[in-house]
Symmetry: C2
Subunit: 434 residues, 2 copies
Amino acid sequence: MTACPPIDAERLWDDIMALGAITEPERPYTRRSFSPLYDEGRAWLTERMREAGLVTHIDAAGNLIGRREGKFASNRTILVGSHSDSVPSGGRFDGMAGVIGGIAIARALDDHGVTLDHPLEVIDFLAEEPNEFGLSCIGSRGVTGCLTAEHLALSNRHNETLAAALARVGGDPARVRSARRDDIAAAFELHIEQGPVLEAEGIDIGIVTAIAGITRLEIEFEGTAGHAGTTPMQLRRDPLIAAARVVGWVHAHALELSARGQGHFVATVGVIEALPGATNVIPKTARILIDARSEDRRLLEEFRSALDAESRGAAQAARVERSKLNCLSDNLPAACDPRLREVLGRCATLLGYSSRAMASGAGHDMAFISQVAPAAMIFIPCKGGRSHTPEEWAGAGAVAAGTRVILEAILRIDAPTASPAAGSTASPAPGKDA
Amino acid sequence: MTACPPIDAERLWDDIMALGAITEPERPYTRRSFSPLYDEGRAWLTERMREAGLVTHIDAAGNLIGRREGKFASNRTILVGSHSDSVPSGGRFDGMAGVIGGIAIARALDDHGVTLDHPLEVIDFLAEEPNEFGLSCIGSRGVTGCLTAEHLALSNRHNETLAAALARVGGDPARVRSARRDDIAAAFELHIEQGPVLEAEGIDIGIVTAIAGITRLEIEFEGTAGHAGTTPMQLRRDPLIAAARVVGWVHAHALELSARGQGHFVATVGVIEALPGATNVIPKTARILIDARSEDRRLLEEFRSALDAESRGAAQAARVERSKLNCLSDNLPAACDPRLREVLGRCATLLGYSSRAMASGAGHDMAFISQVAPAAMIFIPCKGGRSHTPEEWAGAGAVAAGTRVILEAILRIDAPTASPAAGSTASPAPGKDA
């Protein structure tokens, strides 16, 4: 194996701060995909990629890619990256840390004259976050070849189609299928945890086992609107009573499933609506949106079936109709590649970092990439587990640590049979469960 | 007592339909206070009042009044009426039936040359319904002298003050205190029940015992927003869990209180809000508005105190703060005058109508008028108990019956010692609980 060149941790940190500064000034940190600021951020990233010796282009699905060739043209590509778009009033790490980390890796290789056996690409996936087209992970979907004509026909509130917006950021909607990759040897993503576990446990690196499947359900109850003053209690058909019962049940049942030892399970009611929504009117309808996630598909299926029974029961008890039980979306869990996980865990230990296996409750580009290539992710701790907020924060040391682990893993994947080179700080690999 | 002249039931009905036809054409039946259509409705009502021999004026608080003098100038005034404004997409009876009924009574007296001992005024109270100034019962508040400078400074979304709007409809904001009346011998209001009881029990006339007191409370819980995918269940502080528990409790506890036999009690959560309100975010705050009503103040006080304890308990169980428990408004119950109730009950029986005592769960102008004069209301059945909707409906016979009962009662109040005259259809009064 090639000697692992050092990451310039200071430069890495400065770059994260500099990219974060490209924000809507009145609401930091906002750099939404397809906005002029997004283009500005990408122009800045393109410069950084070129400085790091990468040859840049934008693929047909709108992903910004910086490539360095390897020794052997026939080798498949090692991919590393994340996304540079933010949510409104978001943070400076979710996505950006992984892109800048990828550039730091390329820079380390470039600065020390290392040429890998494999080509290396640093990628900034297009539009991972929710955006005005209502479709997240646009770029990584493109890499799997699953951006459809239907997707491209989606439009924003200015009636611009996704196809037009894609062309505007340098993609090629007519040739979007050409973005599909079957040449990827391994894909890595560094990301902040966006949860409190690593910080709470004082652990440096999370090795992601799987990206949770996400099932989104809508339940609506319908009763009879009525005057809040004149309708006697015993004659009411109030749908909010049923909805409130289900809200409590979702929480209690999710607590139970999460304690089963079958891996990550969470369920949340983040949206509740009673209509007409007036103080003096008994609601006619009550609607809740449920977000359930698990790395184990069986848990999600069990939850859905129990929710079906519970919501029927709640409707019956409140003498209302359960007028809707819709599945709004349903993504399967995506397992991270076992070999890459093993290598990442070993590299963390070699570098002196503590690590633990953990599922990702959040969705990520790697959930798509895992459909076409061995893919893996590592998490680094973030302050208070907070994300999608201006207070989102990861320490400079944590970002550098995660970047080092991925660089070390890339070197091992690149030349698995080579022995550790002199000058590396790594000690011998102790085994899988390091 | 003067012979009771017959009510022209057909004319009464036609007038209700004609007033209802003065509506926003695209959303019947809408004639909101302070709108041009409201003025149009009042111009039409003024014409009807004049035809019925009434001398009209608008008082300083914006009430439209049609007056006929009595035999004795020193006698206090008998008042009968309701309001002509509607809610958006409301009905044709709530308020209007009582105003048109008052005009029908004046017409019956006029047509048959009857002069009462007392002056009689038919009143259209200004703006009983919720309106753009956020203050209901504006006209009847004025009659009690309790329209304050603060009220007059309220403004609508066009930054027009209530004072300016009041002047625009013919009131006199500078002299609003002069609208206070201390010369009212008795006040009557005919209204649809706006609830299902009379129809369900097949009863013609509800004699209102009291207008329920209304307490409006706001409860807010505050927890910690978090990512719905990455925040483990056992680390959550989800305020919606506490709010949902309280929603269920309000319903269950109100059922219990209403079954106590201490009179009308209802409580409703009509508004619920979880913020930020995104599917993938654990709410940071959850807020509910509670509307509780009773004719018995003690029940309301007991409810408030139990709600305080329950909401604290719910917050503790969900590990969140109960960040707000605010009283938004608190109106005392208003008892209807016992003598007028007795007379109304007796008159209903005399006229061959079934009747029952019942509380009003809805607020009415008479709740204010009862502060300055003996006041009473009767309810007539409405279809399905529905109100504040275009489907609001009362039969022509029911409206005529209610109007006859009030006319009969006015005659008895006017000359209580006179004996029933020949030609009256009324049979001798059987006593108080008729």
